[in-house]
Symmetry: C2
Subunit: 308 residues, 2 copies
């Protein structure tokens, strides 16, 4: 298995200023693996659900090459549940309910088939769980990408920093970057975060795009200006799945190729925003993805001759 992803597979209840939907399929690993499945044949999933999670959805994921040897199904228990309400700008939200359920005791087991992936995606989860996955691998992947959130900065900063020290690419949003580095300037924050271990940092700014940093370069990818954002839930996870899926497909982890992967991730995330839940990721065609990527090219392309 070339790509392994760990993260939640869950239910979300979502309220936006314009609409509301209860118990939509959600979870970081759901979005990550579905997004990645558009770029690679097979992907391993490490997660846990209760017996309330629909078998239909698992079958759909399986049909898309998402292997479930690493998915634990806990009989008599309930899947992770999150409820949230978006503010008017859809760029920020409040958590209303977090029912950990099966997640409270989740002890990830990496199956033998998953022992030597080239690409590992540590989706947003308790840093201790992310670390247990890393520690079980027989050999270190070529590239480890990690997503996290402010909740772990508030509650488990030491654990979090221990994982950050071991990964290659960290993806967080702008407020989280400021919090993690204790610096308001994103340029200064990025420099500090890169000193914590990762070689690359992606700062996600929602509708304002994403920044990719390494020690010497900055690349900026805009978000596609959308007619209508229905529900941004999962956009960051979809971004991560598109990003690592593209890297796994192209087997190239240069900065130049990461720039492309950031564009691909942004394109995939723009689809997720168009519907509640991961619905849009289930029926996307290659043509739709390519045409969306071409929209990004058109959106940012300019040529300027600087007089010497």
């Amino acid at each position: 298995m070339n790509l392994i992803a760990v993260g939640t597979v869950a239910f979300d209840s979502i309220e936006t200023p314009f609409a509301k939907q209860d118990r939509v399929i959600g979870g970081a690993a759901t979005y990550i693996t579905l997004a990645a499945s558009h770029f690679i044949e097979q992907c391993g999933l490490i997660s846990v659900v209760g017996d309330d999670f629909p078998q239909d959805m698992l079958n759909t994921m399986s049909a898309r090459g998402i292997d479930q040897q690493g998915l634990q199904i806990k009989q008599g228990e309930k899947s992770f549940f999150w409820a949230g309400k978006y503010h008017y700008d859809l760029n920020s939200r409040d958590t209303l309910i977090t029912d950990l359920n099966v997640l409270a005791t989740f002890d990830p087991v990496v199956p033998s088939d998953y022992q030597a992936p080239d690409f590992l995606m540590l989706g947003n989860l308790a840093p201790g769980v992310q670390m247990r996955v890393l520690n079980q691998l027989a050999q270190r992947p070529k590239l480890v990408v990690m997503d996290t959130m402010n909740f772990w900065m508030d509650s488990a900063m030491d654990d979090l920093k221990a994982v950050i020290a071991k990964i290659d690419v960290l993806t967080i949003n702008d407020e989280e970057a400021r919090q993690l580095a204790n610096e308001y300037s994103l340029v200064k924050a990025a420099r500090k975060i890169l000193e914590m271990g990762p070689k690359y940092l992606i700062i996600k700014k929602g509708e304002h795009g994403a920044l990719l940093f390494d020690a010497h370069n900055i690349f900026f990818a805009p978000a596609l200006p959308l007619e209508e954002v229905v529900d941004p839930t999962g956009a960051g996870d979809t971004f991560a799945g598109g990003f690592i899926g593209y890297l796994a497909q192209t087997h190239n982890i240069s900065f130049e190729n990461m720039k492309r992967a950031v564009i691909v991730g942004s394109a995939m995330a723009s689809f997720t925003c168009e519907k509640f839940g991961p619905e849009r990721l289930l029926n996307l065609t290659k043509e739709e993805i390519n045409s969306r990527i071409e929209q990004f090219v058109a959106l940012t392309d300019f040529e300027i001759l600087v007089e010497e």
Copy 2:
């Protein structure tokens, strides 16, 4: 005179979360003409000041080719004064004081030398004043760019819409675009605004960059991620001055060239943020400007091959 700008020439007192400065040189037309002066030999200024405005600064502007036949100096009166305080994110601010002073009775007079400019910049001012400038011109310029703000939407919407109907390029920020169109989605807002008259719309998003729209295309330019933003006052006006200055220099108002002008405007605006007031615009070299433009190229440049 190929380029004429109307707008305020004034004093600002500015407080940021990190520093404070009293009675800095400010005003929309100050920033616009100083930014434009890096691209063209001569530029006409239509504005008004009191006898408190430093002659030194007027001499400096004059030395940069900023013609002052259209500048009224009112003896015994005071220049326009604005005081504001920025929020922690430096992307939003509160107005503390607005002393109109000479602006209260400003009646712009377009000198005979300014009657046939190719490029006209209507800086942020009462829409009635902007209209009086437009109406005095012997012939319509090739391109009229207009900046405005929410204050005029709240207090003079009919006058504002009358000017908007007569111009070519409108520059406003994202909140103002939403307010003017009464649409949350910027894509929908842009469509409605373009129906009000302008052929082009630039939505300025501060540290999140700028969007250029015409009826068929969208172009996105990022803001340069800066180590440190000292004072964003005048960044929007500097953007406008760089934008129209570049268009006037290149004599090309195609969408392709407007994209370049948006990048140039963004580059110029990034300099203004580095110091209080227009200080940075006074001693900029061609090399600094070119190297900043090259940073924008590096920041956004990617190549992706979409498989067919």
